[in-house]
């Protein structure tokens, strides 16, 4: 008997053998540590960008060029980019695992997620390291 609720096929009829992997443990731990780091990084970033010295109105090409002349702010932004992307990406991976009902949906949503993560991380990293303050035109 098959019907919409799939009653003839109880869920999880057979449990696959444990893979003995610590991946979920490390991903859980990473979420806690990166979360704490991001509180400092993001709030600091928001404070500098939106409140300090006239806030958002003073931001222009020169301001960004000035900040990225210092390796400290380069590293700050780099850390924020990587941590936020991986933290958010891992969070979304969890949400997809929790809520996607079909294996195919789960697979494609995750592919979309990972591709967007790689794209944004590489683009951001590329900009931070190759930014040229003397660009003309």
């Amino acid at each position: 008997m098959t019907n919409a609720l799939g009653l003839a096929k109880p869920r999880a009829p057979r449990r696959p053998a444990a893979r003995r992997s610590n991946f979920e443990l490390y991903s859980w731990l990473f979420m806690r540590i990166s979360g704490m780091a991001l509180v400092v990084l993001v709030l600091g970033h928001l404070f500098i960008m939106n409140i300090l010295d006239g806030g958002v109105h003073r931001i222009n090409f020169g301001f960004v060029a000035g900040r990225w002349a210092s390796p400290f702010w380069q590293m700050w932004d780099l850390a924020m980019l990587w941590l936020a992307q991986i933290h958010g990406g891992n969070g979304l991976r969890t949400v997809i695992n929790d809520y996607a009902r079909k294996d195919a949906t789960r697979f494609w949503l995750k592919i979309l997620l990972y591709v967007s993560m790689v794209l944004i991380i590489s683009l951001g990293t590329f900009v931070i390291f190759t930014f040229d303050p003397n660009i003309t035109d």
Binding site: R11, E24, N97, D98
Partner: protein, 263 residues
């Protein structure tokens, strides 16, 4: 079978005439989610008007329906005193044992008409009405090896343990496997392969037992993809447990044991 006896019996037992309404009884509406998988395409709601005393339990209301109004109503119950864990169901949207919830705690304020909704526990396949297939639940329970594992030579006397050692897993010994916690867990609703709170509670009971030597094995099993790391600490399980077990705390203790590699 003659017409007169047909009225007295049904396929699921005898249907008696309604007993006299006791003094002080209130009429409440009981709305039950019915589903006969052999005939119905989808579940439906049935409502019954039942005279009941405030001191009655929800189980009494179900008995009233089954014994006097509709003998086809199907649900599990055995001891009816909160020990066997058979009658877990979703009462007014929360998982409870029908034999432990009193009507007086469900009555509307100010004497307004009371409606009590009763549904099967979520996340397990429904067989009929309030009766669900518990096999996925017990499969997860068995998978955590909920029995004593000890490789040392068997002692000639009992295995002794200090009171402090016993105290560590005292809370999780109370589990009656009613499935209230596991079927209140949102992660379990969408992912039936998650072990669920009850299995973790029963693993906890042996992991933290000083007489047991299988902790590493069980921790390995629970560190897997469908193990403790799926817990979102929503505390639904702790709220649902009819035995008052601090379920979420037990799950966190297993996480801590995994994190620091120390039991």
């Amino acid at each position: 079978m003659t017409a007169s006896t047909a009225e007295q019996t049904s396929s699921s037992g005898s249907k008696g005439s309604e007993p006299p309404v006791p003094e002080g009884a209130i009429t409440v509406t009981v709305k039950i989610r019915r589903f006969n998988t052999e005939f119905d395409d989808e579940p439906r709601w049935d409502s019954f008007e039942i005279p009941a005393l405030p001191s009655d339990r929800v189980l009494n209301l179900l008995h009233y329906v089954k014994w006097y109004l509709d003998g086809t109503l199907t649900f599990r119950r055995s001891c009816a005193h909160g020990i066997c864990g058979s009658d877990a169901m979703r009462i007014n949207g929360v998982n409870r044992l029908a034999c432990k919830v009193l009507l007086k705690d469900l009555l509307s304020a100010g004497g307004k008409p009371t409606t009590i909704t009763i549904e099967p526990i979520k996340g397990l396949p429904v067989h009929k009405d309030l009766l669900v297939d518990m096999e996925p639940f017990f499969e997860a329970f068995r998978a955590v090896q909920p029995y004593l594992i000890n490789y040392s030579p068997e002692p000639t006397r009992e295995r002794l343990q200090s009171a402090a050692d016993r105290e560590r897993f005292d809370d999780t010994t109370k589990c009656i496997l009613c499935a209230c916690c596991t079927t209140s867990c949102p992660v379990y609703w969408t992912d039936g392969s998650y072990f669920g709170p009850a299995a973790i509670v029963n693993a906890h009971r042996f992991i933290f037992d000083s007489r047991d030597e299988g902790a590493e094995e069980r921790l390995d099993i629970l560190s897997d993809k469908e193990g403790v790391w799926r817990c979102r600490t929503t505390f639904n399980c702790t709220d649902a447990c009819p035995r008052g077990i601090q379920v979420t705390k037990a799950i966190q203790e297993v996480k801590r044991a995994l994190l620091f590699k120390r039991v």
